[in-house]
Amino acid sequence: MSAPVQTSQTGQTGQTVQAGRAGGPDPAPVRPFLEMKGISKRFPGVTALDNVDFRLVPGRVHALMGENGAGKSTLMRILAGLDCPDEGEIFLDGQKMQRLESPRQAIELGIAMIHQELNPVLEMTVAENLFLGREFVRRRLFVDSRAMRREAVKLLDDLGVNLDPDRRMAELTVGQMQMVEIAKAVSYRANIIIMDEPTSAVTSKEVDRLFEIVGRLKGEGKCVIYITHKMDEVFAISDEITVFRDGRYIGTYDTGSINEMELIRLMVARDLNEMFPEKTHQLGDVRLKVDRLTRRGAFADVSFEVRAGEILGLAGLVGAGRTEVVEAIFGVTPPDSGQVLVDGVKLPCRSPRSAIASRLGLVTEDRKLSGLVLTMDVHDNIALPSLPKLSTPLGLLKLKQAAKETARFIEALRIKTFSPKELVRNLSGGNQQKVILAKWLATKPSVMIFDEPTRGIDVGAKSEIYKLVVDMAAEGVAVVLISSEMKEILGMCDRIVVMRQGAGVAVVERGQASQELLLLHATGLGGREDGPPDGRQGEERHELRP
């Protein structure tokens, strides 16, 4: 650490804060509610936070921005009492403390956190999850589930979330789980609410609702910390923005005083040119043909074709059955009828093993559940589906070759890890996502299916991934892309199949595609606020069990 540089930097950023505040609309709440000063946190081999500052003013929404692995979640974990800092001090409401001892203490001090990686108790009901650790008790002993239920209904209604509190968490979609987590955080009546990528898996409708909630919290004079990689959300909701880069504090800015390009430059310290790469290559023959694929209760008669070099988008609301379709193609949950042809050869659709053998790849949408083996290291995770290729017929591993392969992908995707031997669980969320991408790219597929591939990935990495996908297509891979981000679908795809309630309802060519048109087909009605009439678009079962 070079001390002089540090001080000058802090001095500089201090000015930025001053400037930002002076330009703010309301000069009254000068005294910050929370101040974190000179926080450092080191992990073996990594400096996650290097002398960073952070402060919150009541009644303002504070966005925390930075690339994957910049240290955002780490700082929030410190604030929520889950990690202790190596250095630095925390002032909460003027009171100084070295660190927060435990999550419990954080909650008592009015700090609630919605975690980036959801960890609900899947076998419990929504109500039980909401009040986990503070169950209502009757006569000091018996859990009062009726009262809990009542409270849960009130809470969910209050937030406008349409959910039965008796449903098991396992039956919910990731988006719905996230709404439960949000409801839980709100219910603590905390003064500081941390939202670490709360919208990485929710529908636009749920995002609207979340924004309403955030607006209300702000009106009540609470501090909201909002972490996201979605630029439009930052500018829609935040009042001020703090930027981290590589574990260092870069500055705090008024949202009004900065534009998207400037913000990106602060985050990545380089200029990003076009987000979506140009596609110039010719399309080849049909590679993947899906014919009247049906799984009862999930989707029916879905047909489409993807040609070599083509990127086909699957658009639709969350719950439209897109994930189910690709899981059926891949054999995770085999279809009831219909067939899938790869290069004219029928795919059995019985197990992922046979799909991989036919050179299919699937980046699943849930990294913890089906994407990664968290107890294994980065190298092993990347190599996992390629091991048959990386070993002799008798199963003896070619370790050197495997190491070279994985090192290549770690570099190509710029996965931020101390070493390939680092456990993936220690990587930041976005870097974990990159590991999943790497693991499938390493299988050299001829058909590649991406289910929300850029979930939780920063802008810089996103454009790298887009380039990677286009490069793959240019080499003749047929690509299927599922995304809830309209921009991504519109920017990447040659053709878009729109799904609604388990059926393919429209095919839109690149030239004609627009956000409005896609939404029109996806909802079957019109604008985004409508949704399917029975409000069932969240009914997608989130199951991925063989």
């Binding site: 073996p44 692995g69 093993r353 089906s370 294994m376 063989p546």
Partner: protein, 326 residues
């Protein structure tokens, strides 16, 4: 790559040697060494060639079983049938030798096959019926014990040919044959886990079964493999045991499964699967052996020995949960 990374690599902020990290990582090695030092200070009967060889000989059977157990536990399973399979294979071995006069070179593979067969039955039910490993192997533990008693009519089977007894009692130079077999088994287990595809699959299945399936791994095969391998090692341990006690005993191997689990857990393998190292199990087995030996040397009754063993197991698990805490 990132500057934060290079900074921390060169930076003086990071001490050259992180004692805490080291101790947490190699805690059992340190504990084992401490106990050895303490014992050699306490009594001069501990640190001599004869005693050390004696310890390794005693450790070898549990060590062999613990290797199979480690693989099972790595897939988030457990094998309670180990002791019964040892007894079963041992009786099969003894009957083939005494009543059918089979040559040793054929008897040994038969013992391994007998263990592996029952082990694969475990694996079949765990993998294809998705039955809980605890229950399946508990049933096998009871059933195999019963089969052993039926087959042997409840009587010890002896005498056995002298050449066979060499496998349990003999030595190659100073090194007892069982120890050689143990070390070879360890090597085989290590190579399987580190250098073979199936090894990675074992870790993957225990770490996240769904992700393993999606990655194209045949998880059923992996499960059948680990239980069969554990059974096979039971057959191997049975050969040594039968040769050592000069008889096929139907009541042999009682609570061997618990010792094997203990060695595995002390060695740092997580019972929830996906995490653990084979060398840890080796040290765990040695630790148990040294402690038993030490308490013997100190002439402490075997009742107390059990208490000490319990404390060690608990201690190991506590250290482990501290290491992987939060």
């Amino acid at each position: 790559m990132s500057s934060a990374l290079s900074r921390s690599l060169e930076g003086e902020s990071r001490p050259a040697f992180d004692w805490k990290q080291f101790l947490l990582k190699y805690n059992i090695v340190v504990v084992l060494l401490l106990i050895c030092v303490a014992l050699s200070v306490y009594t001069d009967r501990f640190l001599n060639q004869e005693n050390i060889i004696n310890i390794t000989r005693q450790v070898s059977i549990n060590g062999i079983l613990a290797i199979g157990m480690t693989m099972v536990v790595l897939t988030a399973g457990i094998d309670l049938s180990v002791g019964s399979l040892v007894a079963f294979s041992g009786v099969v071995t003894a009957v083939l030798l005494r009543d059918h006069h089979w040559p040793i070179l054929m008897v040994v593979p038969m013992s391994l096959a007998a263990g592996m067969l029952l082990g694969s039955v475990n694996g079949y039910f765990v993998a294809y019926w998705r039955a809980a490993p605890f229950v399946v192997t508990l049933a096998m533990m009871t059933a195999a014990r019963g089969m052993t008693f039926v087959y042997s009519k409840g009587r010890p089977i002896s005498p056995l040919p002298a050449e066979f007894l060499f496998l349990g009692k003999g030595s190659l130079g100073p090194v007892p044959i069982p120890v050689i077999i143990f070390l070879l088994t360890f090597l085989a287990g290590y190579v399987i886990l580190r250098h073979f595809r199936i090894g990675r699959y074992i870790y993957a299945v225990g770490g996240n079964e769904t992700a393993a399936v999606v990655s194209g791994i045949n998880i059923k095969l992996v499960k059948v493999f680990v239980y069969s391998f554990s059974g096979l090692l039971c057959g191997l341990a049975a050969v040594i045991l039968t040769a050592r006690v000069s008889a096929g005993l139907p009541q042999a191997g009682q609570s061997y499964e618990l010792d094997a689990i203990a060695a595995t857990v002390i060695g740092g393998t997580s019972l929830s699967g996906g995490r653990g190292r084979l060398w840890g199990t080796l040290i765990g087995a040695l630790l148990l052996g040294v402690v038993n030996n030490g308490l013997d040397l100190m002439e402490i009754s075997s009742f107390y020995q059990q208490i000490v063993k319990g404390v060690i197991i608990l201690g190991a698990v506590l250290i482990d949960s501290k290491r992987h805490g939060s």
